[in-house]
Symmetry: C2
Subunit: 308 residues, 2 copies
């Protein structure tokens, strides 16, 4: 799956991933109205609205992008009907041959991490049958519990040819509170990065490992250092656009092969029609606005990389 | 809710919580057979089996215990039907007036943590209506992202009179890999503990804060230190029993008021009938075995505390 991701990025010249993190206030009124007419102002109605919203954006962008990253929290807040919309989104994106990165940030003690891994990237045994419950291609994982919380994900990913992205340095303002603390003179995120490189050796693809990491676009100096510490680790980079990360700052996240990083944008793509820049599309053409935002983002990143 | 938890612990003389972490191989054959006859060997069948298993254990123990802690991973692995069983379990335990601690270990950047908080301890807005999706009383939270990943949980818990338990020192063997790293001469978990105490001041109950923490039973020396760093913080203690934690080692996790800690046992209670010690109950009386295991655990903890 990491090889597929690399190939798709190269073929499409697009090291970008669209974050499918729908908020109800991103969804145009017309879609909400139709969903609420069918299901009422209920959790089911909300689930239907975000699913229809996602579907339109995926239809409008799937030929341009290698991958999507649905953020499960945005679905989980609507309970079971929200998670039904998550699952529909995952399945639909896979039908469209997109690589699906489930942004789930799970992580627990060994036996519990194993259950998360089974549910999201593996298969669960029920009597004599086996089922893939959520069936993403990659998931994000929190490292705070150490190796035995990561190992079950790696084991299951090996069986399934799937992968993970481990949080190393997150994009949020207070990420430094613990992640930047110095351990033997080096920040904790470097230690986590070194561990990620070690874990990565347990499950290698062709050029890159199936064990990737997350480094926020908002900390480019750290991204530069981490790129060196983890040469074979694919970096999933949130924080571009709405959170403040700029394309030119992201060049050091990439290797000389032009690979090694994939930049996420969520709000900037899926709610593009709400920006002044794309307002000409109008809310009725929100998905076309998203398509244009993808084209602009690809151009922005590729220009920065070309000037490397 | 923290006041309710304290009162129930005092009234029942039971600083214990039952971890509802069902694995299909804990569920007696008779229950699985009935569920599979109704739903087939499907995810629905698995969900039904674990729900019936949980219900019987809750019925047999609810008068003895203040709280339950369902581990959501064990449900999530069965996809949507598993999460339906999780929700049924939460609702049923609340009907029985048990305090429900959702062991979800979520944590993300601010806006995403807000979505998790809304979904698990708050209410989500859908048009003009508001819904509580999962509606636990407390949830566990991962601190790796720092304050802005925690704050949305605190804000919503303040509105709802609910609380969180933040991971400080986890019970698993490799928890030390990052958590024990020295920062200015002190282990990282102490720094996290200090932050938890600060966050706790933002949402205080009568004697204890609504912001609790998780410290594993398997590291009693660290529990002792952390108790002092966080005097008003309730400690949720996993790792007793099956993971190796002993009652006498847990005395320092408590304050002089006999409160301040709640000890979790999962496997040791819910799969008691599989132990030699409780084999006389047989699989048909598995819930009675669980009841006896609760009585024995309560006695074990209280004896240790009496000898303090």
């Amino acid at each position: 799956m990491i090889n597929k991701l690399c190939k798709k990025i190269t073929d499409l010249k697009a090291p970008i991933v669209v974050g499918l993190d729908p908020m109800l206030n991103y969804v145009p009124e017309e879609i909400k109205k139709a969903a609420f007419e069918q299901f009422g102002e209920t959790l089911e109605g909300a689930g239907e609205a975000i699913w229809q919203f996602n579907k339109a954006i995926v239809d409008a962008t799937a030929d341009l992008i290698p991958a999507v990253k649905p953020q499960i929290a945005m679905y989980e807040q609507f309970g079971i009907p929200g998670l039904v919309a998550f699952k529909k989104t995952v399945d639909y994106c896979k039908e469209k041959d997109l690589v699906v990165i489930g942004d789930i940030k799970r992580g627990d003690i060994g036996s519990t991490s194993a259950a998360y891994a089974v549910g999201h990237v593996g298969k669960v045994q029920v009597g004599s049958k086996r089922y893939a419950a959520f069936d993403e291609d990659f998931v994000t994982v929190n490292p705070y519990l150490g190796s035995d919380g990561i190992q079950p994900f790696i084991d299951i990913c090996k069986e399934e040819n799937k992968g993970i992205f481990v949080l190393v340095k997150t994009s949020n303002p207070s990420s430094g509170e613990f992640q930047d603390q110095l351990v033997d003179g080096k920040p904790l995120y470097e230690l986590v990065g070194k561990k990620v490189a070690e874990w990565g050796e347990l499950h290698m693809g062709e050029a890159y490992s199936y064990v990737g990491c997350v480094v926020g676009a908002t900390y480019p100096e750290m991204g530069k250092v981490l790129r060196k510490i983890m040469p074979k680790t694919f970096i999933l980079v949130p924080g571009y656009g709405a959170q403040g990360g700029k394309a030119e700052d992201l060049v050091p996240y990439f290797n000389k092969d032009g690979l090694g990083a994939i930049i996420n944008s969520s709000r900037g793509i899926i709610a593009a029609y709400k920006q002044e820049k794309y307002s000409k599309f109008g809310s009725e053409n929100f998905a076309d606005a998203s398509r244009q935002a993808v084209l602009d983002m690809r151009e922005d990143i590729n220009s920065a990389l070309a000037g490397k």
